[in-house]
């Protein structure tokens, strides 16, 4: 159980801002923290970790006070039972994978977990290699299990998958969920990717203007705020073939060309090269599968 209620003045692109984070995370709960870049998500995570000091407030984890401004309690990061994963994998280049993991171990039980976790992440064959020989996905897998070997009370993830391509990201999301199910500790997952919020969590905190604006299940949250029953795409006009009663317009949407029909009134004043917004009801779309997405690694 994590109980956070902290304030901190932060510098953002729009000037100084008061960040006020107030939330609780229950035992074994995985919560995503969503917001635009610069909104203070990472700062919140760092304050729980003890890497950044709040100006005011309290952080209590499993009835242990980690920070309390009024009582002048501020535990150093080493004395907070956390597992933290950063955006880039932060493996130490002078150590092999196994040494990187052993570096995190404090007792025999943790040592026993190394082999188990390596196998779970299918990394056993790479254990004696240096990080520089690994792909980004493999490095981040090692960083994930390294953070859990101390069996921390809190799992903190700072956009750990944002540098990956889509296919790899989805795969690592699944592996991360498996790991979380196994360790079952309160987890705060920072992301600015909507699809990640939906896939990873049953509860999302949305941070905006320095405050937790919404605290809800993702599907409810998106129904209310971001999700609509329409498809909407920005498109560039490639060609207009005038005709009566309807003209044919060729559009480029992303890397795809589409032909649509429009009445003269609709395209009047537009010309090839203009960017427009096209929208359609998403009532009964055609779903084609499987969609193969190219990935450089698995």
């Amino acid at each position: 159980m994590i109980d956070v209620d902290v304030k901190k003045k932060i510098r953002s692109s729009g000037g100084d801002q008061q960040l006020h984070a107030r939330f609780q995370i229950g035992p074994g709960e995985l919560v995503t923290l969503f917001g635009e870049s610069g909104s203070g998500k990472t700062t919140i995570l760092r304050m729980i970790a003890g890497l950044t000091h709040p100006d005011q407030g309290r952080i209590v984890v499993n009835d242990e006070i980690w920070f309390d401004h009024s009582q002048r309690i501020d535990r150093p990061v080493q004395q907070r039972s956390i597992g933290m994963v950063f955006q880039d994998a932060t493996l130490f280049p002078n150590m092999t994978l196994r040494q990187n993991l052993e570096y995190a171990v404090i007792d025999g039980e943790g040592r026993g977990l190394i082999q188990e976790y390596l196998a779970l992440m299918r990394l056993d064959s790479l254990a004696d290699q240096k990080p520089s020989t690994l792909s980004g996905g493999q490095k981040q897998r090692v960083a994930l299990i390294r953070a859990l070997l101390r069996r921390p009370s809190v799992f903190l993830l700072d956009e750990p998958l944002s540098a990956m391509d889509l296919k790899l990201r989805i795969q690592l999301q699944d592996e991360l969920l498996q790991l979380h199910e196994k360790v079952n500790i309160p987890t705060l997952f920072v992301t600015h990717d909507l699809s990640e919020v939906v896939r990873m969590s049953r509860r999302v905190l949305m941070l905006a203007d320095g405050q937790i604006k919404h605290d809800a299940a993702p599907d409810r949250f998106f129904q209310e705020h971001l999700c609509s029953g329409k498809f909407r795409f920005p498109a560039r006009i490639v060609d207009i073939k005038p005709d009566e009663p309807l003209s044919v317009i060729t559009l480029q949407i992303g890397q795809h060309l589409s032909r649509i029909v429009a009445s003269k009134e609709e395209w009047q004043g537009l010309q090839p090269g203009d960017t427009i917004l096209v929208a359609t009801k998403a009532f009964n779309p055609i779903i084609v599968k499987p969609l193969s997405i190219k990935s450089e690694e698995t």
Binding site: A49, L51, V77, Q78, I82, G83, M84, F86, D88, T90, F92, P93, N94, Y103, A104, I106, A143, R146, A147, R150
Partner: protein
């Protein structure tokens, strides 16, 4: 007649002792300058670099005054340690350590300052203290910078002249290092000996810097 090589040996001895002492002093100092939070650090940083610009005679002059055995501090040192720090090898070592300080500290300090912050924080979040992080994470990833500091300190100590002349004088086997020997042989119009010391110094310095450059390139490849 066998030429007197003792100034060369003395130079190498001085450079080795200075380099070892500066490695021990320089690492914590560079760490503190790179990561410390004390405000008065801003006064220490230029002080460390002062020997780069200050005339060696100025430094030598003050060392001479401070360690003068007839004055307070120098006298006290002599009483306690039975060692005289002027016109002695010990005095040369003190002068060289101060004079070569920036050559050891600056390359290591700038490497520490550019060290990825994430690695340090990752180590702390794994429960490791700052000391443990320094030993296991920072040091093993700083060999190139430390190597640069070692080589520059060693080579620079070989090239010292002004400080050594001021506080060491020209006592054979004690303070007569190679650079001083060249000077006194020239004064005595003994050009043959001056040539010998000069050529040995020239070759020695070239070889050190040449080997260092090769090693550095190889290290750069390994890192890449």
């Amino acid at each position: 007649m066998m030429p007197d090589l003792s100034p060369i040996w003395l130079t190498l001895k001085l450079a080795s002792v200075t380099t070892v002492i500066l490695l021990i002093l320089g690492l914590p100092l560079a760490y503190w300058l790179a990561f410390g939070k004390a405000r008065w650090k801003v006064f220490i940083e230029p002080l460390v670099s002062m020997p780069l610009v200050l005339p060696p005679t100025v430094l030598g002059f003050y060392i001479l005054l401070i360690f003068n055995p007839n004055a307070g501090f120098g006298g006290w040192l002599e009483e306690i340690f039975h060692t005289r720090f002027v016109f002695s090898f010990a005095g040369l070592v003190i002068g060289s350590v101060i004079f070569s300080l920036p050559f050891m500290v600056n390359p290591i300090k700038s490497h520490f300052q550019s060290f990825p912050r994430n690695w340090l924080e990752a180590s702390w979040t794994l429960g490791r203290s700052s000391l443990s992080t320094f030993v296991h994470v920072i040091l093993p990833n700083s060999f190139t910078a430390i190597g640069t500091g070692l080589v520059m300190t060693f080579a620079h100590t070989i090239g010292e002249f002004g400080v050594v002349l001021m506080i060491g004088g020209n006592i054979p086997n004690q303070t007569r290092v190679a650079s001083i020997a060249v000077y006194s042989e020239v004064e005595a119009l003994n050009y043959g000996a001056a040539h010998m010391y000069s050529i040995i110094l020239f070759v020695m310095c070239f070889v050190i810097l040449f080997v260092f450059q090769i090693l550095n390139r190889r290290m750069a490849k390994v890192v890449a």
